[in-house]
Symmetry: C2
Subunit: 199 residues, 2 copies
DNA sequence: CAGCGCATGTAATCTGTTACATGATTAG
DNA sequence: CTAATCATGTAACAGATTACATGCGCTG
C-alpha cells in the first residue's frame, strides 16, 4: 500500500534505517554513482568504522531513497550494447533530509561484536596455545586494518573539502593501533605467571 | 520439515548462529538459569564486548538448544501459585559442542558499528558545535563503560576459575579507556587551527 | 568459441527487534 | 483495591545476508 495510486512519489519522509542514511551520506558528497560503485566506496571508507552493507542491501536502499524523493536515478546506456547501468544522484530534498538527520537524530552508541573476545571469554574451554593463536591472529588483523587506515588517511588529507572523511580516517588509524596494542597487552597477561595483579 | 515425525530430538548438530553459541557459553559455566537470568547476566558480561541479545532471542535460542540436545530444561514451580519458570542446564553433549566450536570454528573478525563516527564522517553537514557535542557525548559514554568494566573486572578477579571473564573484562577496561582517549584526541583535532598535520 | 570474472540486479531465507499478552507481586 | 512493575513468554515485522539469475567482455 501507500505506493499504489498515482501519488507522485513525493517524499514519504520519516523513518529510514540507519543504513539508508549511510548510503544517502555517500551520495551527499555530490557524485553520481551506481550501486556497484557505492559498494566499493563503502567498503573502503565506511567499512573502517561502520560495517559495509552488501550489494543487495545497497540496491534496496537506493530504490527506497528514490521512492522517497531523496535521490534520482537514470539509466546510463554505453555506446555499444553494453549492459546499461543505473546511476543515482542526490536531490535537494535528499541533501536537506540527510543534513537534518545528521543534526537532529540522537546518535546511537557504538555497537561492538568482538569475535575474538567472545572466544577468550570462554577460556575455560581452551588451552593456552589456542588462546595465543586467537590473539595473534587478531593482532595481525588489527595491524592490517591500521595500515589500510593509514594509507587512506594520507590520501584523504590531500583532497580539500573532505574534512569529515579525513577526520574519521585519522580516528580509525588510531583505533586500530590501539586494538593491536590491546591484543599485545592481553598476550602479556596470558604469559604472566599468575593473576594480572592490579598495579 | 525435519522437525516432523517422532524423531526423538537427537542433536541436529551443525550450524547454530553465533548468538546460540554465546548463550550456550553462558550456560557452560555450569549454572542452571532461566531466560530472564541469562538476559541479565548477558547484559552485564557479554554486553561489554559483544552485543547482548534481546529477551525474545534468548528464549528462542534456548528452545533451539534444547531441541539440539545441548541443554535440558525443567519447570520450576514455586511453593505458592507463583508463575512457574523454566530453567536450563547444559548437557554433556552441549559442553562438548561448545568446546568444539570454541576450538575449531574460525574466529570472525570484530564488527564495529560506530554511530558517532558515522556522524562525524558527515562533517560537511554539521557545524563545529554539533561535532563537539557528538564527541563529548561519546566521550562520556565511553567513560561510563570504562567505569562499569573496571568494577566488574575487580569483582571477577576475586572469583577463581573465572579466568576467561576476568581476562576479557580487563580487556574491556582498557578498551573503553582507549575509546575515551580517542574521543579526546579527536576533540583536539577539531579545535586545532587547521589540518592535523602528520607529525 | 568456451569459460571465467565482472557488473547488475532479484528472490528466498534467516537473524534479531519491537510490540504484545499474561500473570504475580508490590506500592500507594 | 487499583496501578505499577517484574517476570516470562509469543507473534509479527523489519533488516540484512546468501544464493541465484543474467549478460557482457576478456583470455586462452
Amino acid at each position: 500500500m501507500a505506493d499504489t495510486a498515482g501519488g507522485a512519489g513525493a517524499a514519504e519522509a520519516a523513518g529510514l534505517p540507519v543504513t539508508g542514511w549511510a548510503v544517502l551520506g555517500l551520495l551527499s558528497f555530490g557524485r553520481e554513482l551506481s550501486g556497484y560503485d557505492l559498494k566499493k566506496w563503502a567498503d573502503a571508507s565506511l567499512g573502517l568504522f561502520y560495517w559495509s552493507p552488501s550489494f543487495s542491501q545497497i540496491y534496496g536502499e537506493l530504490r527506497r531513497l528514490e521512492r522517497a524523493g531523496y535521490a534520482r536515478s537514470r539509466l546510463v546506456a554505453p555506446e555499444s550494447g553494453s549492459r546499461g547501468k543505473r546511476t543515482y544522484r542526490i536531490t535537494d530534498e535528499g541533501l536537506a533530509a540527510v543534513r537534518a538527520w545528521a543534526r537532529e537524530t540522537p546518535v546511537d552508541p557504538p555497537v561492538l561484536k568482538h569475535g575474538p573476545m567472545l572466544r577468550l571469554w570462554l577460556a575455560h574451554l581452551l588451552d593456552p596455545s589456542e588462546m595465543r593463536a586467537v590473539l595473534t591472529h587478531h593482532r595481525d588483523h588489527a595491524d592490517r586494518m591500521h595500515a589500510r587506515a593509514r594509507l587512506d588517511a594520507a590520501h584523504a588529507a590531500t583532497e580539500p573539502a573532505w574534512a569529515g572523511p579525513a577526520l574519521t580516517l585519522r580516528w580509525a588509524e588510531r583505533y586500530y593501533a590501539a586494538e593491536r596494542d590491546l591484543a599485545d597487552a592481553m598476550l602479556r597477561d596470558i604469559e604472566a605467571p599468575e593473576g594480572p595483579a592490579e598495579p
